[in-house]
Amino acid sequence: MKTEKKIKQTTVQVNGQEHITGAEALLQCLIEEGVDTIFGYPGGAIMPVYDALLNYEGKLRHILTRHEQGAAHAAQAYSMTTDKPGICFATSGPGATNLVTGIANAFLDSVPVVFITAQVTSGLIGTDAFQETDIIGVSMPVTKWNCQVKKPQDIPDTIAKAFYIAKSGRPGPVLIDITKDAQLEKLHFKYKKCDYIRSYNPLIPLHIKAIESAAIMINHAERPLILAGHGVLLSRAEKELKTFAEKTGIPVASTLLGLSAFPSDHRLFTGMLGMHGNYGPNLLTNEADLIIAVGMRFDDRVTGNLKKYAKKATIIHIEIDEAEINKNVQVDVEINNDAKEVLKYLIPLVKENSFEQWIREFRICDKTEYEKVIKPETKPEKGEIRMGEVVRLVSELTKGDAIIVTDVGQNQMFAARYYKFTQPNSLVTSGGMGTMGFGLPAAVGAKIGSPDKPVIAFLGDGGFQMTIQELGTILHYNIPVKIIILNNSFLGMVRQWQDMFFKKRYASTELINPDFVMIANGFSIPAKRVSKREELKDSLIEMLAAKGPYLLDITVEKEGNVFPMVEPGSSVSEVRLTY
């Protein structure tokens, strides 16, 4: 009875600086920050916030996913396609711990997401109360910042700080844990956006001298190569990168998360770096005399064996996060600044140039890769349908204008390799974490963030089943995402490794799958199974033309492998085209 009465009081609408409850203050803060969409899942401790949400109908849209992990991934994908931070709610205990994979995923891929978790009443903290988890302790290593709020009057400033930290510098997830009593009690509400924290310097004045010496090196290089990472997209430096590359004539290679920062069909684009990247940029990294790394962190999947990485090159590293500089690769010029600002300053300092001979070397590699790998993968004439051919067709049919969401594994590598990205932020994928199950909920978030763009999810049959319940979210809100299952009845990437490195001993990688078409239909989602090449193109056209959501279960070659490949422990120059 007591609780009921209290909650009733909270629903009284009040204006301006009046007394409002902590729960309402939280929602008011979100509105002040320009939020209109929240992904989440209710539960005991967060009930006051959900109750208050009813008073904000029309202002704050809440998307109820079918699992907290789904909410976290959806919020991340929403942010990746909108430039706004994602917002995610979960209750205490299991609600909060279910977020952890999603938080870690956003952390490794530098995506701003504000996670709000509820905590048990402050008096109960530390007593192992029902649904109590120390989410501050649990999320500490995977958040950019986290904080627990036990008093309602601390809510506005903490939320303001959370948004500032999540969005600025190298973005990342933050988590605010609010006790139930802080949600219920009242405060004088006053909101001021945060733009200053003494101990936190996200905007570092330009390192002019370093940029000037970089310019000299660029002007004297003979075989320079630009490595573009996610930082280009995060700092919205796509235009500057294009201008810089075009003026200097330097070829551009991209990391997985950097894809779509530079048009895939640009004459200076050489492809993707890394384990399953393109032949040219991998092989020729070790021939370059100058590497200009922009907003990337030399991940092991990109560098291969560090002892044999880019030994002929002088390395310029443009990176906003100082801790990433000299972490994996010792660099010659460190420019610890925002990519966009550096490029803007750098462009007038570099001379117009062209490297036709050097670029020709990439094109020779392209030709070899096309004949040995790309052509048989994307334009096969016989045998089972291949993943690469599905991606190529989708790329052609959508003219590179869709938002591509992937799961993790072979489906992801094929999508990244064969889709021709033309628009910035048009690839949503789990890079650093490699989280299977990311794809379906991410597609939900991407579509909600960008309703006017076609959103196509490439999923494997394994990853799809990790978060398959999000079909419920798609049904609930009629979210018109197009789901393509590249179904080989295997955990394909693991099977490929077993094939190559474990003597074909297929331990727990073959899957007995349910009927995905029936499952989709159970969620009122139109679906079709395709296994014949003759039907493939028409089925894709039908899927793309569908108004609502659609699922296409495509039976593909069971034991297809992704190539090229830089095997673990190998140098990028040892990239293999075949097995």
Binding site: G137, W145, C147, R198, S199, N201, E238, A323
Partner: protein, 186 residues
């Protein structure tokens, strides 16, 4: 090659900061040899003095990761020659040992230690110095029965002339820096 480093880390008073810092060391398999926390000369700013053994490349990496933490103000890494440092140790010895001649008294004098308390059952000796000096005193007292021994972590003052306040001022200026033009790309 591994060597000893003293990290002087200045931080805001944010709950959980110790956890965040130790996580960084734990991930890199670096043991903490000594750890001391206290308020610094700047009110509200806390100083953590952490002694670790690692390589000079690794210390730079972890220092940058520590400085990246939102609530950490500044991280300095020093080798032993760049700091003045001390540790404090307390020894509890039976009073019998003291009464059976002036050996204990001589040891205390020779080590520039001092007797803090004398009771009928025990005496407490205090020694301030470097780790090796304290160990040496412990070795000498042991034959006479050391009932308890406790030693603090390292506290250190840097020899550098530039003080935290001027760093804070610089950081403040940097923090207020905004790029001249922010162009919105659609």
């Amino acid at each position: 090659m591994k060597q000893e480093f003293t990290i002087s880390l200045f931080t805001e008073d944010h709950i959980g900061i110790l956890g965040q810092i130790t996580i960084i060391l734990t991930r890199r398999q670096i043991n903490i040899d000594s750890f001391t926390a206290s308020e610094s000369a700047v009110k509200g700013v806390y100083l953590l003095t952490i002694v670790v053994k690692t390589t000079s490349e690794m210390i730079q990496k972890v220092a940058r990761q520590m400085e990246k933490l939102v609530d950490v103000l500044k991280v300095f890494v020093h080798t032993s020659d760049q700091i003045i440092y001390q540790e404090i140790a307390l020894f509890k010895v039976t009073t019998n040992a003291l009464m059976s001649g002036n050996i204990i008294d001589n040891i205390v004098r020779a080590h520039h230690a001092r007797i803090l308390e004398v009771s009928p059952e025990y005496i407490v000796i205090e020694k301030t110095g470097h780790k090796a000096e304290i160990s040496e005193l412990l070795t000498q007292l042991e034959p006479y029965g050391v009932l308890q021994f406790a030693k603090s972590g390292r506290v250190a003052i840097t020899k550098q002339v530039k003080e935290l306040n001027s760093y804070l001022k610089e950081m403040d200026e940097a923090n207020r820096y905004k790029p001249e033009t922010i162009e919105v790309i659609n």
